[in-house]
Symmetry: C2
Subunit: 146 residues, 2 copies
């Protein structure tokens, strides 16, 4: 399952002339196994379970490399660290300011907004770099004000 996905990513990177190193393969594996988003810290811990020698700086550098290559995206959910995930299956994040729950919604929900911004402001929304902050269903029902 995740193994195939990693193999495909590795192949595509190699095809582009990128080097395949222990850190890169381990990071791709950790990302594929994650399912949803992970912080750099969490990914470093996951990688360290198998390859303790991989340094945190390498985690950040490799994540940035993979981002430039279009393989990884990262999103800011709030005031904490950024979260990373594989770039296939793009999605937007909704984060609840009360309980911290994070929901993923398909990018189609944003299509009308993107069209309006392109039409009225010439602005081409290009990334799902930031989450939308608000209140989830459960927290909306429990209380009214902050």
């Amino acid at each position: 399952m995740g193994t195939d996905r990693v193999a495909a990513l590795v192949d595509s990177l190699r095809a582009r002339g990128e080097r395949i190193t222990t850190a890169r393969r381990a990071l791709l594996t950790a990302l594929a196994e994650a399912g949803d988003h992970r912080t750099a810290e969490e990914l470093a811990a996951e990688v360290a379970r198998v390859h303790p020698e991989v340094h945190r700086a390498t985690i950040y550098r490799t994540l940035d490399t993979l981002r430039r290559l279009g393989v990884v995206e990262h999103t800011h959910l709030g005031h904490g660290p950024a979260v990373y995930h594989l770039a296939d299956e793009p999605h937007q994040h909704l984060v609840c300011e009360d309980c911290g729950a994070v929901a993923e919604v398909p990018p189609t929900v944003f299509r009308p907004l993107e069209r309006a911004l392109a039409r009225d402001y010439g602005f081409a929304v290009s990334s799902r770099h930031f989450a939308l902050v608000g209140r989830c269903r459960e927290c909306s029902q429990g209380r009214d004000a902050i």
Copy 2:
């Protein structure tokens, strides 16, 4: 002009039982004069021109106090520091990932999206806490890909 606005803000804070200190008044003045968004660093510099004794920690603490009181909002435009502005005239930020230009758009543009998220996910978008990242008109025309 800005003076009236500051006076009104000061009055409303006092009416709520909040203390009016040098730092608070200076910060409100700097925010009112700013017109658009400013980083905490920029606001600290502006305040320091008149009151050099106001410490940066006080800037952050005061901004947070004003945020809790609903007077100030802050937004994350990208990877740098947060930007602050007075909470009247709410707006969303569009930031260009190429040239860094920041546009402000009225919240009405987001109304349909907010309704869709409320209807389909029970999610109540409550803040304009993050900018939307994309490419502005000028940068879209100049080039096609990253």
